[in-house]
Subunit: 416 residues, 2 copies
């Protein structure tokens, strides 16, 4: 069963969790002075509207009408009960997933790409630069720029650029320009950190350009809260008062944050972050101030980090290969409000195949991390005889990741 | 804007257009005797439930509950108003599309794959064989078989098998087995006709197997009528009494039939079939009895045909490379109830890019044929100052067709 809502039920305001966090959020620091950053430091990169959102203490922030008109082309996204998966697991748990794969770019990423392009356009910016890992974010921003007649330059982590040629074609179909990162080291597999460095350098070198980030920052997680706000309403349509457990995969944290943040204020709702064992930021990183990029050009963020020079192995879940985590997510984990767990990619693809063969959809490797944890939690519910309501984020489809499935099915996947 | 409906609004009966055609449908003939086929001739290939549907004169046929439960995982599919495309074309036409790309297999094909697998399973069949052109149908049947724990063997037109390796991976992810056709001629590009021959030969050679066809036959078009039945209701939700014009791409005719047949009885609704110039069955074929496959093993069907030995060029819209058309579609065109038009693939990809850059979604090359015709009709509406309501079928996404987009964007597409 699916719960849909008509397009007039897209939330008209984003939910800002910052005033509701268990502990105050530590401010970003200037990379040179180590003093809290001021808005003027950020103006070469971001429009004022986004800088204000980044620092806002308001609980609700209105979504502009022009942004709503676009979101309504695919939102509200469906909430689906995974009954066939429940049956296969013989679990008393009720499993729901929020399907963000129905956006034109195939993931949750357009939820923030659209407002970012909108606010930049409104302030006269003609061109955006960005990084992309798996290609989901670069696709979303290329798409958003095509709607606002803006140029888009995407620095794509080289490992993904080579593994996923069709992601490049997708971005080019929307008019984006794509190059592998790091641009100056052709033998380097790259990471989100190196690609951020390339994109920031490009943006500050040109007057007509701004930089756009697909995760980590407060305003990005803010824009993603439409996911959780819709899911909360749809769960009620499905006859559930609330979820007992909310699960999301976590790279920078925007997918997880989008689904989970609207539930933070309810202490009965457990929150679970799932990450790859090969890039275990929340489970094995240190909570400290670190740079967002590999070259140390960005402000310092208070977050769980493996160090800004950490280069994870070239796993297929390219979107989870980030050395740090969103300050908001880090804050929640540090305060004990959110749990975190990690899986190697073999177990993750095993879950992806089980999901595809019971429910149908073929998930992105990133999304399959959340599915792995959901399956394990549903099995635990069976073993403990508990009727739990599990909500997980189906952040994107795997239709541009079929090489990974081919490797897994042929026994060629490196199980890191 | 989008019009969705809750999953309890999936139609509970299929619409059988046969008793409502402008002229009686000519029966299929035995390939040897040229006498009308009797059900017993078909039992080596199909279950009795489908044979009865193939020959039914009832207007409505109930959809089994178990089939409905599965369809409800993604149905009703959304009806979307393409406002941004309208604005780009500056047209007074109101353009709506019915989005079948949201199914797990990415097209309308599961609408019939699910009931076909269901009825075969119910009659004890353990294994299905089939052909696939672009891979959409093979994907859908592999998916359906995974849900019913059946084996699936797919003969894929060699040109597509080589152009689209990820379609094979998709089918294998659902547990299907895929081989290129014709199996005995490794240098032959294949066609739907050769692949049907391979699949039929396999099915009749094994007691545990039946054959499954993804288009052309009456029962296949019947199963697809959920598309048009939903669209009719959703158009009313959108405030439109009815469409003035219904447009669909046409290979075998199941996508077009699914959308258009529920509107046949209303003489005010114009119907338009769109096909590739390189395989112009309706626009340049002859209406006569011909075989469904290339080897002349199947019953003879009364249809528009280019001859069962016609091998079209290897265009990217592999799903439209069929030498004939559904007898129901042929009947409508012959009687003047439906128009047909044809486009070369360069014009088709130009339309696909315009759609992607205004609306967002990247269409399958097959679907882009309908988009091309829609754009031309919307321009005509502007030139004639007419406020027309155009409904077209968004039969599938192009995410497994990005090589074609790469070729087009690089100026390497052969414009046949």
């Amino acid at each position: 069963m699916r719960w849909t809502m008509s397009s007039d039920r897209v939330p008209e305001a984003w939910y800002n969790v910052v005033p509701h966090l268990p502990e105050p959020l530590q401010p970003p620091l200037h990379p040179g002075t180590r003093e809290p950053v001021t808005p003027d430091l950020l103006t070469p990169l971001f429009p004022m509207a986004l800088i204000r959102q980044e620092m806002s203490a308001e609980t609700y922030i209105d979504i502009p009408g022009e942004v709503l008109d676009i979101l309504r082309m695919w939102r509200p996204t469906p909430l689906i009960r995974a009954r066939r998966l429940e049956q296969a697991l013989d679990t008393p748990a009720r499993i729901y997933f929020k399907d963000e794969s129905v956006s034109p770019a195939g993931s949750h990423k357009p939820n923030t790409a659209i407002p970012q392009a909108f606010y930049n356009k409104a302030e006269g910016v003609k061109r955006l630069t960005t990084e992309t890992g798996a290609g989901q974010w670069g696709s979303a921003l290329s798409y958003a720029c095509s709607l606002f007649d803006m140029e888009c330059k995407v620095y794509m982590v080289r490992a993904s650029y080579e593994q996923k040629p069709y992601r490049r074609v997708m971005m080019e179909t929307w008019g984006g320009e794509v190059v592998p990162s790091p641009i100056d080291q052709p033998d380097h597999p790259g990471s989100l950190g190196t690609a951020i460095t390339d994109a920031v350098r490009d943006a500050v070198s040109r007057d007509d350009s701004h930089y756009s980030l697909g995760s980590v920052l407060n305003h990005v997680l803010l824009h993603q809260t439409v996911i959780g706000l819709e899911a909360r309403e749809q769960l009620q349509l499905a006859g559930e008062e609330k979820p007992d457990l909310v699960i999301g995969c976590c790279g920078g944290g925007s997918n997880l944050g989008g689904l989970a943040l609207p539930f933070v204020a309810d202490p009965d709702v457990e929150l679970l972050a799932v990450e790859p064992s090969s890039c275990p930021t929340l489970t094995e990183g240190k909570f400290e101030y670190d740079f967002g990029d590999s070259a140390g050009m960005t402000p310092l963020l208070a977050m769980y980090t493996l160090g800004h020079d950490f280069i994870p192995p070239s796993i297929h879940a390219g979107g989870l290969r980030y050395h740090g985590d969103a300050p908001i997510i880090s804050n929640l984990v540090k305060a004990g409000r959110m749990r975190a767990t990690a899986y190697p990619q073999g177990k993750v693809f095993e879950a992806a195949i089980q999901f595809a063969r019971t429910q149908g959809p073929i998930p992105a490797p990133e999304t399959a991390h959340a599915i792995r944890a959901t399956i394990d939690e549903a099995i635990r519910a069976r073993e403990e005889g508990q009727e739990r309501v599990i909500l997980f984020g189906y952040s994107g489809h795997g239709l541009l990741d079929l090489q990974a499935y081919d490797d897994y099915l042929a026994g060629k996947l490196e199980d890191v």
